[in-house]
Homo-oligomer: 149 residues x 2
DNA sequence: TATTGTTATACTCTATAACTATA
DNA sequence: TATAGTTATAGAGTATAACAATA
């Protein structure tokens, strides 16, 4: 085990790059009064709504406690609503409000901008390969990779 | 801007995957009484020691305040030492202690294990491509990609 | 004055575990 | 008893900004 072997950990470099990307993106969405985790939550809702918190937790790789806390904040911001389940009073579903849904394209544009800033340095082929690999990895972990189109 | 376009954000998927990898790795290194950020810090030191905190901050994409806090914790654990700079009494350098250096191969083995768990699902070529791309991205951001060998 | 680094403060993110309400 | 979800608590990670010491 020599020094150069140590640099070969994919998880290490992925964390390094991902943190840089997310930190910069956090700055961008702060102007919209939204955090990165909130964007992620809203993006997932956009595909899945109406969805119970338990399913969202599974799809996002988070605990239900974490989802609950995030949901509460988005509820307070008026971006998300709860809908009661008539069959089971313990359960409910989460959806975007109109205000929340209207914010999606704005935030997506910022995400595009941020992606460009970091990934346009890659060739088109490299970028596509990276996307493909990331989706494979997400899918294998049961994270919410939308069905192959 | 339709729904399917929204799934194409590289940053989104990278964060999803990176968080899953780091969370699992955190569980693994917890048994060594080390956090993921501490491992990252120690790995960087392994390549750069002795190094002033300011340089480490730059190489790791963190603020000097964050480095200071991490360094203090590793100092308390006996894994890192400070060395005074005789020319400039404001400055100092950080290095691993023998105990810290001995821990590196143990932690690196856990990182290998964790990488295998997540990335062995890829073909060898895909894995190598991913590594190459991540290093390109890290380098362009001035993060401490060790010199090309 | 400028620079190196620390400290104080605050907030996000997340987990674990205890709890509540309903089934 | 089991399940859906919330709440309480705690700690990691990080930033910003004020500060101290030295240059």
């Amino acid at each position: 085990m020599n020094a150069s072997r140590l640099t070969d950990h994919t998880g290490y470099w992925m964390r390094m790059v991902s943190n840089a990307v997310s930190q910069e993106f956090a700055r961008k969405v702060a102007g919209q009064d939204v955090t990165v985790a909130e964007w992620s939550f809203m993006r997932a809702l956009y595909d899945l709504e109406p969805v119970p918190p338990s399913v969202l937790a599974e799809k996002m790789g988070m605990t239900k406690g974490a989802i609950s806390k995030l949901a509460e904040r988005l509820l307070a911001k008026g971006l998300v609503v709860r809908t009661e389940n008539k069959d089971d009073k313990r359960a409910h579903s989460l959806s975007l409000t109109n205000e929340g849904r209207d914010k999606i394209p704005v935030l997506a544009a910022l995400a595009d901008e941020n992606d460009a800033e970091f990934f346009d340095t890659l060739t088109r082929e490299e970028h596509e390969t990276l996307n493909r690999i990331l989706k494979i990895l997400a899918e294998r972990r049961g994270l919410d990779a939308t069905p192959v189109d």
